[in-house]
């Protein structure tokens, strides 16, 4: 048994160096060389400034932008670090609401959101993804139905025709991968950038 002590230390050290340093550092170098944009987080720049990542949702509250899903991310309370306060789309602390199917708190929040959305657009039924928080709190997407639901509000705020806005939504809708995997979706940041582009023209 005693002769197993030497390999227990030395094999461990060598394997740790290979798998814990050589492998991730080599992958970083290779990925940085052949896929630099993705490796750095698919960042989007505008006028030399980073405005976000194509993959990370951000908070939209203004009427002229399409809104993403509610986000349950939090940040430490500045006045008491043992507590947290809501901080939607906090990309340095991902997480979901973790409220269950019989949670009163969840039901109350969803109910309030549904009422607000019904008032905004009484003609369509409220899409479920627009009133439920995502798992990461950083969901970059909404369903095509959730985007179309917001078209009247956005068109009005931007003095565009609903048809124009709807067209942008269609252009920014991604289907399932190979027609099979996942769900159709609209990247909210990409759609809003397209909107800003169209308005600037």
């Amino acid at each position: 048994m005693l002769r197993e002590i030497r390999p227990a230390i030395l094999v461990l050290v060598v394997l740790t160096a290979i798998t814990g340093l050589a492998y991730p550092l080599a992958m970083t170098a290779i990925a940085g060389a052949i896929l630099p944009k993705q490796a750095q987080g698919s960042l989007i720049e505008k006028n030399g400034k980073v405005i976000g990542s194509a993959l990370i949702g951000q908070e939209f509250k203004e009427g002229k932008y399409f809104h993403g899903r509610p986000s349950a991310t939090v940040t430490p309370d500045p006045s008491d670090s043992s507590k947290t306060v809501p901080a939607p789309y906090n990309a340095a602390n991902s997480g979901g609401s973790n409220l269950g199917p019989t949670s009163k708190a969840l039901n109350d929040r969803v109910k309030a959101d549904v009422e607000q959305l019904k008032a905004e657009n009484p003609s369509a039924s409220v899409p479920v993804d627009l009133v439920t928080t995502s798992a990461s709190g950083l969901d970059p997407d909404i369903s095509p139905e959730a985007a179309l639901f917001q078209v009247p509000r956005v068109a009005k705020a931007r003095s565009m025709s609903e048809e124009q806005v709807r067209q942008l939504v269609t252009q920014n809708t991604q289907g399932r991968f190979a027609g099979l995997l996942g769900e159709p979706r609209v990247n909210v940041l990409a759609l809003n950038l397209a909107l800003d582009g169209a308005t600037a023209k």
Binding site: R6, G100, E183
Partner: protein
């Protein structure tokens, strides 16, 4: 439930099945010490490691030596992770300026990673430096996975050998598994993940100015290299707090699909390795069939429950299923499938928040873990867990006809059955025992995020996940407290090693026995009757053990949900 949803599920099963034979063939060669197409490159590295470590690769070990070597290896792994976490503030690769991790959290995380559990009481991007993620967590993702596979191979050797005192050499098995199986796949896999949008960088977190002028700090890191082994090795510990739900840790529907495949790939292929090593591949397929039956049943229930949604959402006129805690790019079907896959295997990565699943949808992951994660299971651990149940099932069959039970040519006798029972009983002792302690301690109850039966399920899920070395969570529970850090670490430790040691004792005792050729009176273990018998034994033993606990949690919550009672 939709047609396209079921097509995704069927496609998933088909691809996993298609991988079983080629991977099983390759892994068998690796563990038999034969040449592979990678040998010209890797053989010199392999020999170098043996030379440094003073390992004689031809010297085989008794099961006890094999087990001791494995335990010593893990003690070292524990100190590496614990030390790195405590000292991270003073070490390089820490652009976010993370401070030292507290003692109890470091202890919990170190146990969590050496046991292949990867329970996340830590926050990932908010707690750990890049160095800890790489040198601490990525390395142990490899080594705990390689250990699991090595142990399964040692147990297989117990069945396949005749009148021998040894079961292989632990160092050789671990080194060969890491170099020939895990690393090559991970290199290709990590690059694929980057191509889907997963970051792989040492740059610091980025401050972005959003379209509306707000400030958003975006956490980055060497994500892809860790996620590749996290999935392939059924580790499941997230780089980020939200795990595989985080868009950086699972950017597309395709990355999600491939991640699910990689969770099952090696575990399913090990059944083929078993078949090949005992000289009859159909023995392996029979075991995979047992796993398949239980898996499809689980997927059906969870998918149905999540697609139906909750009564509260329906009452508000919302259709489209239970989207709380799920990502749009995955939707209902890919989230439900992922949840069943990750808990059937002992992976524990999540792409949706299990805490927000419907009562029945969340009960299936719980049952998967309570059955001992034998439905494919963790790499290695799933197979040796399943073989323990096979030993019991064969024993039951032997009692029915009054013959000494035999399995793949080996007589199953008192020693094997006692060891199998010990391993199987120690799991409920941990998760039921600690759950009952937690629910009477006010400080432990205060950690629950949900009221009513759901809060109880959160605690039961935590100890089940820890004991089963899964690592997924009903994440609302605030597990980062002194009580949970210690008791969960205890559950993980016992759940891992009190299963391994009896399994290895069985390996040793079987290896010493003579192999008997099958006779007319041998119970055939490749047919439907055998599959049905094993499924029955698993469900009866499991059902008797944990049904009362389920009745207090998810079942009563389901009834409350249907009556639209809120807590």
């Amino acid at each position: 439930m939709t047609v396209i949803g079921w097509i995704q599920i069927v496609l998933y099963c088909a691809i996993v099945l298609a991988l079983v034979k080629p991977l099983g063939w390759y892994m068998t060669r690796v563990f038999n010490g034969e040449r592979t197409f990678l040998s010209p490159v890797l053989r010199p590295v392999e020999r170098g490691i043996y030379w440094i470590g003073g390992v004689d690769e031809r010297r085989e070990q008794h099961w006890l030596t094999y087990t001791v070597a494995m335990l010593l290896f893990h003690i070292g792994g524990f100190f590496i992770i614990y030390g790195l976490m405590r000292l991270q503030a003073a070490l390089p690769f820490n652009p976010a300026g993370q401070t030292a991790v507290a003692e109890d959290l470091s202890f919990n995380t170190a146990i969590s990673f050496i046991t292949n559990t990867n329970w996340q009481n830590y926050g990932g991007e908010s707690t750990l430096s890049y160095l800890v993620q790489m040198l601490g967590l990525t390395h142990q993702n490899f080594l705990s996975a390689a250990t699991g596979i090595a142990l399964a191979v040692a147990l297989i050797r117990g069945f396949s050998r005749s009148s021998m005192r040894t079961v292989g050499n632990f160092w050789v098995d671990v080194v060969r598994c890491t170099l020939y199986v895990l690393l090559p796949i991970c290199i290709v896999y990590a690059l694929f993940l980057v191509s889907q949008g997963m970051p792989q960088t040492l740059q610091p977190y980025v401050d972005a100015t959003t379209l509306e002028g707000g400030k958003q700090t975006i956490a980055l890191g060497p994500v892809a290299s860790q996620v590749a082994i996290k999935m392939l090795g059924t580790n499941g510990g997230g780089f980020f707090n939200a795990n595989a739900a985080h868009p950086f840790e699972n950017p597309t529907a395709l990355s999600n699909f491939v991640q699910m495949i990689s969770i099952f790939a090696l575990g399913a292929a090990l059944t083929n390795v078993f078949g090949r090593m005992v000289g009859n591949e159909r023995q392996g397929w029979a075991i995979l069939a047992v796993m398949g039956v239980l898996f499809i049943a689980g997927v059906t229930v969870t998918y149905w429950a999540e697609a139906n949604g909750t009564t509260a959402l329906q009452a508000l006129g919302l259709t489209g299923g239970n989207m709380e805690g799920k990502e749009v790019r995955f939707g209902i079907v890919a989230s439900s499938l992922f949840a069943v896959v990750t808990t059937a295997a002992s992976c524990g990565a999540v792409n949706a928040m299990h805490d927000s699943f419907t009562a029945l949808g969340g009960m299936i992951p719980l049952i998967n873990m309570q059955l001992g994660e034998i439905i494919v299971g963790g790499v290695g651990a799933g197979l040796y867990g399943m073989l323990l149940f096979v030993v019991l099932a064969i024993f039951v069959a032997g009692l029915m006809v009054g013959r000494t039970p035999e399995y793949v040519g080996k007589k199953i006798e008192a020693r094997e059955v006692k060891m199998a029972m010990l391993a199987i009983l120690v799991l409920p002792l941990m998760y039921l025992g600690w759950t009952s302690v937690a629910v009477v301690l006010p400080s432990a109850v205060a950690s629950m995020a949900n009221a009513g039966p759901h809060g109880f399920t959160e605690v039961l899920y935590a100890f089940t996940s820890a004991t089963g070395n899964n690592g997924s969570a009903f994440a609302g529970l605030s597990g980062n407290t002194f009580f949970y850090n210690l008791t969960l670490a205890c559950s993980m430790f016992v759940g891992r090693f009190f299963m391994i040691v009896p399994a290895m004792a069985i390996a040793g005792s079987l290896a010493e026995k003579k192999s008997h050729p099958p006779s007319a009176g041998t119970f055939p273990t490749t047919g439907g009757l055998f599959v049905g018998l094993v499924v029955g034994v698993i469900l009866i033993i499991g059902g008797l053990t944990f049904f009362p606990a389920l009745a207090l949690g998810p079942i009563v919550e389901h009834l409350a949900m249907n009556a639209n009672t809120l807590f």
